[in-house]
Point group: C2
Chain length 525, copies 2
Amino acid sequence: MKIAVAQLNYTIGDFEGNKAKIVASVERAKGDGADLVVFCEEAVSGAFAYDLLNKVTFLELCEDVLEEVAPHCDTIAALVGTPIASDRTTVSAAALLRNGKIERYIGRHTVTGRDDVGHLRPGKGGECVDIAGKRVAVLVGEDVFAGNSSKYGNKADVIVSLITDAYKRHNIDNRYNFYRKLSYMSGIPVVYANMVGGNTDVVFDGSSAVFNGQGHALRLLRSFDEDYAVVDLAAPNEPVEIPYISKNPTIYNAIKLGLKDFFAKNGFKTACIGLSGGIDSAVVAAIAVDALGVENVRALMLPSQFSSDHSVEDAVLMAERLGMQYNVVPITEAYKTITDSLKPVIGGLPFDVTEENIQSRIRCVMLMALSNKYGCVLLNTTNKSEEAVGYGTLYGDCVGVISVLGDLYKREVFELARYLNRDTEVIPENILVKEPSAELRPEQKDTDFLPPYDVVDAILFRMFEEGQHREEIVNAGFEANVVYKIHAMVMKNEQKRYQFCPVLRMSICPLGKGRVMPLTSKYGY
Amino acid sequence: MKIAVAQLNYTIGDFEGNKAKIVASVERAKGDGADLVVFCEEAVSGAFAYDLLNKVTFLELCEDVLEEVAPHCDTIAALVGTPIASDRTTVSAAALLRNGKIERYIGRHTVTGRDDVGHLRPGKGGECVDIAGKRVAVLVGEDVFAGNSSKYGNKADVIVSLITDAYKRHNIDNRYNFYRKLSYMSGIPVVYANMVGGNTDVVFDGSSAVFNGQGHALRLLRSFDEDYAVVDLAAPNEPVEIPYISKNPTIYNAIKLGLKDFFAKNGFKTACIGLSGGIDSAVVAAIAVDALGVENVRALMLPSQFSSDHSVEDAVLMAERLGMQYNVVPITEAYKTITDSLKPVIGGLPFDVTEENIQSRIRCVMLMALSNKYGCVLLNTTNKSEEAVGYGTLYGDCVGVISVLGDLYKREVFELARYLNRDTEVIPENILVKEPSAELRPEQKDTDFLPPYDVVDAILFRMFEEGQHREEIVNAGFEANVVYKIHAMVMKNEQKRYQFCPVLRMSICPLGKGRVMPLTSKYGY
């Protein structure tokens, strides 16, 4: 049996575009003499479509696409992921197209993913179909990961898995391992097609693959790009080696693709960014220039009286190295006028976080003015550590349409900066070595209230990524008062995160929409 | 059989407080000689607790509460709603406390509500227990609404329903009707206990009740307040009449309770607000003064060069009538300084939405400064019509910690204003009769781009509340180009709504978190 895998980048609701891609791959697979061509879950619609999945018109348009793809499936069978209306609910299904028509749908049963629950309902799941004389177990979405999929070794000749499995740190290797084991345990070949591309805050990495029944990879499709492969499972196939997945280049590629697709698919062209001279905005600028082109990224430097000289210098050096358009607009006058205007209200009281936030919020006014006037999209530069403990000003530096680094801890931002500098120094060394500071009052340092980021990040990682309780973290050797302080800061800032922009997701526990907490709660554990 | 219903206002994670309330009601019911006392769903935890429901410590603390309540249940049985750990997932259950201990749990089966899916899993559901010689069908949460609950008429002597059913327009009458029919169809008495109180954006109205087996109400507990009732189902009971639920006072009470609890339960005391002289901020101010006390609400009037004289005058008149503390802080100087500073960036280009937004965002800087300096919570004043079509400036007038009117159409805000003025003129008549305008450029009116709100609201209502397609709305007699324009504006502004604060929910289709749309999408239907 000859199977083709088409790994494509779909856009939600772009039915014409998605259809054209699917048809082109069907034709290519026919040309290659394949018996079956496999597409990912929700290929027709794009994923994740959320509430659109419950709109009748949306589902009808999905069916229209399949009706138009079906005539191309004359000498070939195709399995195409699509949402379908089923008993007044919506089910994620694989459409089997054959003999020029939609022959049947195989629904997905397991619905537990946060992006699916509430939008999809369980279908029947786990069915076998006969294609080219072979028994094919068709597993849609999570069904392959739930329960014991290796049982299909007794019922089928091959397992075909259609997924939309988003990128998360270590997810590519974990996924390879899962399918490797599945093929070994079931003793039959396993083929899986994953989505590739960015949609809002989600990045699908692709990395589809074909394994033989001995747990060896026969084909590995590209990560973070469209790809296509065809394998004759009856012919002798040389196994390919599963490569080591290096962390920083992978995260870099994930963010770059996410950013690029966010712009391309929304019809945005240009971006703007506030360059502070700190590491976060420097890394965002460097990635944005790579993803969007230097002519499409524009910066403002917005120094206040508390900004150190080196901050503006470093930011300017960075912008000039990259070749970005930039302006230096001091906010000193605006700060003075606003605090003067507010004298009848807040005058006479000592300088505190109010005045710090005024500076940060004036920068928001300036950046949004640039954004409004030229139609460029403001990029958020907050990192996960800041977002967690609530550093950053609501309606100040927390603003932006999309957060580029919001799912990376501060340490990871440093690692990424070093990676960006691997060949030539893109980010001035001075930015990498200086102590992190918001520079909103004299001599301010991020370490004024908390220990260095190495410690903060280790605690946050245990808290979020590992789900550890405070006691466990203290028992692991961290100072109790620091752990409790950080925990209290995390809990206190749910409200700020509620209003945060979408964050390109890189982990199993993105903050923001990935963490749903009541804002009114006395729970403190 | 004598049944008591305790309708209480719980706080999420306030285990001591919730326990004290539950124990007090158990003791009261014992004093009244009741066989059974019924509490609402998730009484121990408070609702909706979202991701807290999957924290082991949270569930353990819920169980601790029940362990401490149980000894009080010696001569009485109690049904208390609580989340429980069950097979590595969390189920919403009724704990049956009797003979001084936790006797058993009856789980809830149906989980479809958006606030529950992803946090709760289905339990067994729909079980009967024997209490005081009677067979009691115990239905937790949605189970009573799903499927044919009247079948319990054949199996049980009484139906007890524990719910957390939030307020939505017409939900109180609909709920009365549902239970009235259920008691009539099943032919046995029905008792239901609902939660009361606000939690973040949700308001539970209470309105618990007892019906006899002939579809007559025997007791109606208060709406929007704690209450308690005891009924001897064996004794002759005079039916009570179900009152007509008038819309405006009900919405007013719902918003007032939601606002009051948002402050009380979060430990907030004071609020601040920007008073523009328009109707939305006037209505928010009047409700806030009622809910929080006039000494706890403070206003800023922030006129720009485009503000009409009457705006400040009307706002001042309003504040003085209410007796609120206020300051008038013109933003003219700040606007000039900021646009001057930005001359190298945006100078020479014609006045457009950029300059409008700068004014709105300066107001945000001023209001947040007041909020930061005095620790008062900024109230958002956006209404549902504006939020839908994207009127309002992101990081400008869209800001705030909680949106008071965000689930009311503009027409409803006018109705509420008339209701507030029912006895004395709280809101100056001039504010009610002037034409809506953002006053961000000369002679601006809300009707410059769209028809009057009567038309806009009717179209939006059909779109959201009735789920009508554009074609249906056009066929109902609305101008096609207006319908298409409004629809396009709604779709374009998902991104703005993504960063919106929580909205006190008054309908079945609150925008914001109640509407989950991909921000990257080409879907335009």
